[in-house]
Every structure is written in C-alpha cells, then in structure tokens.
C-alpha cells in the first residue's frame, strides 16, 4: 500500500510505451471481441445513470406514467423536456438550502484536517521525538477503524454539550475521521522529499516553521490536492455522519444526502417525479470536481486504498 504514496510514484503511470496500440502486434486480431465485451459492460454501467439524467428533464407526469426509455419515440416533441423538476426541487423541496448546507459542511471539513495533518506529517517525517514510530503506527492502524466505532460516544458527548445539529460538530468529526489517512499520505510524501534540500535550508539558518511553510508545503502540493479531492468527495457524499450528528435536531441544516434520502424514503408517486432532479442536484458538484480533478482523485485513491 505504501509504495504508491511516495513522492516520485504518487501517480502510478504507465511505465513504458503502450505495446498493444501497435498495429503490427499479434493482439490486433483479438480486438473485435474486446470491443464487444467492453461495449456491453460500458452500456450496463451507463444505462442506470442515463435513465435518471433523462428522467430529470421529463414532465413530472410523464415520469410517473411511462419509462424513461420511451422518450426516444418523442425526442423532439415540444412537451418532452422541461426544467420544472429542478425548479420544484430547488425551491419547493429546499434543495437549494441543502446545497448551501453541504457546502457549509464540506469546505471546513476539508480545510481543517489538511492544515492540522500537514503540521503533524512534517513532524513525523522530519522531526525526532520519543514515541514517533509508535504514534505513527497508531495513525496507520486508525486508518481502517470503522467510523461507526465513534458514533455512539461522540453523539453522547455532543448531546451533553448541546452541539448536535450544528455545523462545527460535523467539521471536527470529519476532521477526526479524515486525519489518519491525511497524516499518513502527507507524511509518506514529505518523508520521501530529498533531505538535502532541508539540510541546505538549515545551513541558511531556517528553523522548522520556515522550512515547513516555505519549502515542504509548496513541494507537497500534489499530495495536498489529492487528499483534498478525496476528502471533498468523501464528506460531500457522506450520509451517515451527517444523519447522526445533524440528525433531526436541525432539519434546516440538513445536507443534500440527508434530504435526498428523505425524499427517496417517501417513495410516494409525487416524490418519484422529483427524485431524478434531486439526485442530480446532489451529484453535480462531485461530478464537476471529478472531471476537473480526476488526476488528483486517482492519485488519492491509489495512495489511500486503505481508508477505513
């Protein structure tokens, strides 16, 4: 698991020229079955998502009356497409508010753990202190501890403090749950930077704080971005932590996943026509992040293939 987390190899790149693109290659004969097989699998993967993408733009009554695939008969009819569902979902069902809530939960939940983890990672990589290896082994162990272990005790404390239903409780909880992986990834990356650059900075009279902020942090941008992408998607898509700690205490603070699950829970005919649009509202930002930062996301995934 660790091999991929060190600076030079963070992105597992093809190590060589791609042999099979060579037309002279003996593989060429086997391309047709490959096309067919890949085509079928891709189709199976795309159809479910295509279904709700199409549904979300259909007339609400049509969604309830006929399957989404029937639009192919009336593709260019005037009455086929509408934005009405999105309007209802955003205004009437409060998904616009939930979208802001998701942002309010996610941004600090990404920023705080990165800051705290970066300092810790630097200490683990470049400072010497008693218990360093043992403490880092603890961090490695905590990566796979299911967050379910924390739900009951933390909820109890939050209830005592009266902070259920508030954003700060969620920020710190997500910070706690995200930290092990963050410290682990950042430390491995920082530790693999050449020690000569740090030594020369020391010779120039820089102290640890300066070396960290001026040298190590800028050099660690790729791994910081990788973790940020991972943590963003993780927090944005989280349902369980938001449900338990925001819960019913403050419905006006509900995040998108909780709202969407609530809408899906109604499963009434009225809700059915709103579900596709609601689902897409909840997916749009992760999809944008996914497309823009796919490279970092893959890095984070490759490196953090062990998160608990």
């Amino acid at each position: 698991m660790t091999a991929v987390t060190e600076a030079p190899q963070v992105e597992a790149k093809p190590a060589r020229a791609r042999r099979v693109k060579d037309p002279q290659n003996s593989f060429r004969a086997s391309r047709t079955p490959a096309y067919v097989a890949v085509g079928i699998i891709t189709l199976i993967w795309v159809i479910p998502a295509l279904g709700i993408l199409i549904s979300s733009f259909r007339d609400p009554q049509a969604i309830r009356a006929t399957g989404w695939w029937t639009v192919f008969d009336e593709l260019f009819d005037a009455g086929t497409w509408t934005l009405q569902n999105y309007e209802t979902v955003l205004r009437g069902e409060g998904f616009a508010n939930a979208f802001v809530n998701s942002l309010a939960v996610t941004i600090p939940s990404v920023v705080i753990p990165i800051t705290v983890a970066a300092f810790a990672a630097y200490a683990f990589a470049w400072m010497n202190f008693p218990g360093r290896t043992a403490l880092f082994a603890l961090v490695v162990g905590l990566i796979v501890v299911p967050l379910q272990m924390a739900l009951i005790p933390i909820l109890r404390i939050y209830v005592d403090l009266g902070v259920t239903g508030s954003f700060p409780g969620l920020w710190l909880a997500h910070t706690g749950f995200g930290l092990p992986l963050a410290v682990y990834l950042l430390r491995n990356y920082m530790g693999s930077l050449p020690s000569s650059i740090i030594e020369s900075a020391e010779v120039d009279g820089a102290d640890h704080f300066k070396i960290f902020t001026r040298l190590i942090l800028p050099l660690s941008t790729p791994v910081l971005a990788a973790f940020a992408t991972l943590q963003f998607l993780w927090v944005w898509n989280d349902y369980l932590v938001a449900l338990v700690f925001l819960g019913v205490a403050a419905p006006q603070n509900n995040v998108l996943t909780v709202e969407l699950a609530g809408l899906a829970g109604q499963f009434g005919e009225g809700a059915v026509s709103l579900l596709p649009a609601a689902a897409f509202v909840s997916m749009v930002l992760p999809l944008v992040v996914f497309f823009l930062l796919q490279r970092y996301f893959v890095r984070g995934l490759t490196a953090g293939a062990v998160k608990g």
């Binding site: 796979v144 739900l151 920020w171």
Partner: protein
Amino acid sequence: MSTPSLIKDEVSEPPRPPGEPGSTDNRLSVWVLRILSALIVPAVLLLFFFTFEFLQDPRTNKALQIAVAIVVGVGGVWLLFWAMDRLVSALPDRMAAGVRPFVFAGPALMILGFYLVYPTVDTIITSLRNADGSEFVGIDNFVRLFTESTYLVSLRNSVIWAIVVPIFCVGFGLAVAVLADLLPRKTEAVVKSLIFLPMAVSFVGASVVFFFMYTFRPEGFGEQIGLLNAIWTALGNDPVDWLRLPFWNNLFLMAILVWTQTGFAMVILSSAIKGVPDELLEAARIDGATEWQVFRKVTIPTIASTIVVVWTTILITTWKVYDIVAVMTGGRDGTSVVAERMVTEFYTFRNEGLGAALAVVLLVVVLPILIINIRRFQEQEATR
C-alpha cells in the same frame, strides 16, 4: 530519511536530527510542556466552535458561518501553530527542541485521540452494558447478536456482501482494465471514465439511480417505469417486486455497490497491468504461450499484490455499507446488514449496548487488516 528502529525509539538516537541537539531532553517539565502544547490548538478550536452561540444558531447566515469556519480553520489554526512555535522558541534551545515536535504533531494526535481512540475504547465498554448503559451485562449483547434471528440475518447478509461485492468489483474491474487496454487510446480513456464516474456519486445518489432500475408496479397499476420490470414483462413475465424478493433482493442491493466501486478496482488494476514489464510478456509469447496463458501465468501473478490491496479496500467499504441498505429497503425483507442494524439499534431504538456490540463486530473484522498494515509499515521503516 533516516529512521531509527521500530517501537523502541524512546531510547534510540537518530543519525541526523535536523537542526537539533544530539540528545532529546526528556525531563518531566519537558513532558508537561509537550502535553500542554499538544492540547492548546485543539482546545482553542473546540472552545471557539462550541461556545460561540452564533455558530450553533441555525438562523445565522450560512455564508457567514462558512466564512468564519474558513478564517478560523485556516487562518486561526495557522496563527495558533505559529504562536505556539514562537512560544516554544523562547524556551532554552535543548528544551525547545524537545517540545517543538509536539507543537507540530500534538494537535492531530489529540484530535485523533478524541474522535477515534477514546470512542473506540468507550464503544467496547458500552457494548458490555445494557440498552441505556446503566448496567454491566457482560457478553449478553454479543450472545443476542449470535443467537437471535434478527441479528443473524444481518450478520449473514454482511458476510455475503463481503464475499460477493469484492469478487464482482475485482472481476469486472480486471476485465475492463485488460480489455480496454486492447482498444485505441481515446476509446480506452472514454470507457474508463464512464465506468469510473459512479465513484464520484454518493451511495444515496446511486441508490436513487437504481430506484429507476428496480421499481415495480403491480399488474394493472400502470406501465412499468423500472427498466428491469419493463424488460421482464416484455419477455412475457409478470412484474416482480425485486427489492422484496427473498434473498435475491440482497443481490440487487449489492449490484449498486458494485456499480460504484468497480471503477476504483479498474483504475488501480489498469495501472498495475500497464506496469507489467514487456520483456516478461514477450518471453512468455516466444515460448509459445497463448494470450490467455500469458494473462494467467504472467500478468496475474505480477499484479497479485495490487489485487489483494484492491480486494481488501473494497472489502472494508463493503463491510461498513450503510447508506444503500438504509435508503433502498431500510433493512426490511431480510436485507439488513450489520452497519445498518447498528444505526437502527442505537439511533432508532436507543439501544446503545446492542448498537455498540454491532460496531465492535464491524471493528473485529477489520482488525487483521489493521494489524497487517501496521506490520507492513514497520517493515518498511526498518528497511528504509
């Protein structure tokens, strides 16, 4: 990086401690300062977040809340770290060198202690107590888990999930990785993106996506709007309520997780496959191996460790799956799983003892992985 031996580094001296005196100052006063400096940053954060009323008040403007959180979360935390660093610098050199690492690493460790270590211990203790935690009941909760049919169903389902989902994810992932490798580069990129895409979607979102695959209408209650039933009835069958079909409903739920996780397996396996040295493959071909034999005897053994990592990761994700079951069936009709049951017990039924016991079951299964990870880390440190 030079690293001392494993756990016992209290006594070991590093060959090259950057800019610090040769030996570490370990007097009691230094330890007091270390713990203090580790505590201050999280304490200030906690105080700030939990005592300022406006952050608790739902009527507070949310943009303002986010702005404050970012200012504090970044600026404030930086300022705190900086101030602590300055304070420590005022100490005598040897002392400062002993305390400073705890200024850097301490806050993270304290937060981990509060949000993961302490709760883990507390949950284990809670699992030995009754529903409201008022009484010690020994292993009663666990006895119930392993004898009462409600919980046995959850356990059985979780085990099936943990077997089936990784098999399909790794299987499909490997198939796409290998087959797409044969296609032109652009086609390969598009195919991989499409299959990877569901990774970005929440489990709740994925469940809604599959609602439109599985949904069911009894005959005479209108056209089928679920794709599966539309196909099924077109073939001349009666419509089926897939999510209530005993036992099979579990597999339909698992398909949702396979849909989201296969992309992960594919991406990681694909880069491993591309890393298999050409010479190995060519040598096998020259020896007359068929493509299938090359794949079985050369590619698979070479990427075996990657397969294990991917398998383990998906296994852990699967073992803790909650959202999909909660949203699709709420655990009804024999679809309950351990993580879902856990939330139902402690959150809905307010039975903390049983909920904690179920959480402990979740932990126990990942324990071997946890231990292997730590061992592997220690080996790497030893050889570094």
